[in-house]
Amino acid sequence: MSEIFYKEAVRDALREEMLRDERVFLLGLDIGRFGGTYKATQGLWEEFGGERVRDTPLSEAAIAGCAVGAAMTGLRPVAEIMYIDFTTIAMDQIVNQAAKLGYMSGGQARIPVVFRTQEGAGRSSAAQHAQSLEAWFAHIPGLKVALPATPGDAKGLLKTAVRDDAPVMFIEHKLLYNTRGEVPEGEYTIPFGEARICREGSDVTVVALSRMVLRALEAADRLAGEGIRVEVIDPRTIVPLDIDTIVASVEKTGRLVVAHEAYTRCGFGAEIAAQVMERALYSLEKPLKRVCGKNLPVPFAPVMENFVIPGADDIVRAVKELL
């Protein structure tokens, strides 16, 4: 094990996959010499050259579509959309093309494309640079969706994503790039659809996504001080979703909190709620709590931004309300 930054984990995964398979290449805005807005591709242009680390014009629809076409014809592109907010411009290519053409062609097309992007608030970037839109993609059959919360998961899941023959939305978090964490030495991958129980506990289950996993662990720590044992689960991929692990936990605790930064309404927390309600209704002793982004655009000023985005305090409060 060695400790590295999340952005390094992303970079290492891309690098190893590019070394392993020459069909893998990268395209996106300023990912080359500039190294990407969050420096997650730093050094790759120097190592692999401009043919395999391709800076593009400022055209998200073309970036995504070009990746789809390349993926259909024998390559394995990793296309970066700088902010998940800008996927709005590439939605047709991601949703109507990448997600569907394999199926619509009667299984002829394989579209092994990874759309790497990042989401989240917390940098006073205002409402057009702070969204968490994973639920949109989870809604669309034909896309897998990964949301790594740690450097170890970022690396292992990204390598899996690159090797997957289906389109993958790989969603990083802008405030995680400069977090550090343990990463196994040597080659490893993490399968999709296996949740991680980040902390075991028997009183309340907290299912958290992306950066909220860190907040959930912080909350669990604090609650442990008061003798409250929180189980923290990170699904890591929401499509496919490891609902079994979540259900097993709820069967143990009888209490469920879901935590994500995305807007509450129609966020992925609702889907977890529905699946738990379908599978484990009788185990639930208390109503669901959603500790999620408020149903508001994210405001610029830090004090208001903090208000709309949930934090560890909110998780602590929700857990206590369930006891």
């Binding site: 073309a62 990746a67 789809v68 259909m72 014809t73 290519q93 009667g106 034909g142 896309l143």
Partner: protein, 333 residues
């Protein structure tokens, strides 16, 4: 207002083309014509589900373009795509079966009329989203270039599609990377009910090549030889690393937007004028004049094509319907 370069039909004499090629163009046009006529009939008698966008009247465009392509070259097509894929070499039976939604169709009934694909023939799929195939084609061209396969891509789209942002982004990207791609705009004068004059304030989509720094050429889209010649030049350039070309084929769709649309928004004389300019008899006259084919040979080809289309209908009708649960197959995510 600047004009795009003139029609090239007049240049024909300077390029004597092999008889095989000229005959092939003819057969392709006939196959498209007959397939489409039959499909319209079948649709109107409600044998075919969904809806249908007929390629009738535009046959020369697809035939000319695809004759200039290699078998392993790629195309992307549109909602009005039967002509493109026939010209690129598809079998009429499996196509018809797809229109019928049968398991023997190219997409096993999952795609239908608007989505015929055959990757083994370089057909990366038709597209229900106007303009949606253009960036995909650019990706295929990038792939061809990176794999050094020598393949070229032709992406078909309509006059209406040239108003889509996807066209602009894709054309610019292809230019920046000097990709082996042909942007083939089939200007059939209308996007649904909207005349191209209300869609843009320039006479030719071809003029837009200049925005990206590559040639934009307009050509008589009802003249298969003219289309072939223009395309061949562009293909040669693309294969040699010279980058993209925009080709605008000026043509007309005889029926309305979809089968069943009376197309009442079009002046009667306009429709009549274009029908008088039917690419097929015009080309047959040319073949006869040039001594490439005689009446009898033409008639024989017609008979073969008719029989082929009828066999295709038979094949489709007698093919199995999918089972409901077949919907669960071919899904990988």
């Amino acid at each position: 207002m600047p004009e795009a370069p003139p029609l090239v039909a007049a240049e024909r004499a300077a390029h004597p083309l092999p008889a095989d090629l000229l005959k092939g163009l003819h057969r392709t046009m006939l196959r498209i014509r007959r397939f489409e006529e039959r499909a319209v009939e079948l649709f109107l008698t409600q044998e075919l589900p969904g809806f249908l966008h007929s390629y009738l009247g535009q046959e020369a465009s697809a035939a000319g373009v695809c004759a200039a392509l290699r078998r392993d070259d790629y195309i992307t097509s549109t909602h009005r795509g039967h002509g493109h894929v026939i010209a690129k070499g598809l079998q009429l039976d499996r196509m018809m079966a797809e229109l019928y939604g049968r398991t023997t169709g190219y997409c096993k009934g999952k795609g239908g009329s608007m989505h015929i694909a055959d990757f083994s023939r370089g057909i990366l799929g038709a597209n229900g989203i106007v303009g949606g195939g253009i960036p995909i084609a650019v990706g295929a061209a990038l792939s061809a270039k990176m794999r050094r396969s020598g393949q070229v891509v032709a992406t078909f789209f309509g006059d209406g599609a040239s108003s889509q942002g996807a066209f602009h982004e894709a054309a610019n990207l292809a230019s920046c990377w000097t990709l082996p791609i042909l942007f083939v705009c089939e200007n059939n004068q209308y996007a649904v009910s909207t005349h191209c004059g209300a869609q843009m304030r320039i006479p030719d989509v071809a003029l837009r090549g200049a925005s990206y720094g590559f040639p934009g050429i307009k050509v008589d889209g009802n003249d298969p030889v003219a289309v072939y010649l223009v395309t061949s030049d562009a293909v040669e350039r693309a294969r040699a690393g010279g980058g993209p070309t925009l080709i605008e084929t000026k043509t007309y769709k005889w029926l309305g937007h979809y089968v069943g649309d009376p197309g009442a928004y079009r002046p009667k004389e306009e429709v009549a004028g274009w029908k008088a300019n039917d690419p097929l008899p015009r080309y047959e006259r040319y073949l006869i004049e040039r001594g490439v084919m005689g009446e009898a040979e033409i008639e024989a080809v017609r008979g073969e094509v008719h029989a082929e289309v009828e066999a295709a209908v038979e094949f489709a009708r007698s093919s199995p319907l999918p089972r409901p649960e077949d919907a669960l197959e071919d899904f990988y995510a």
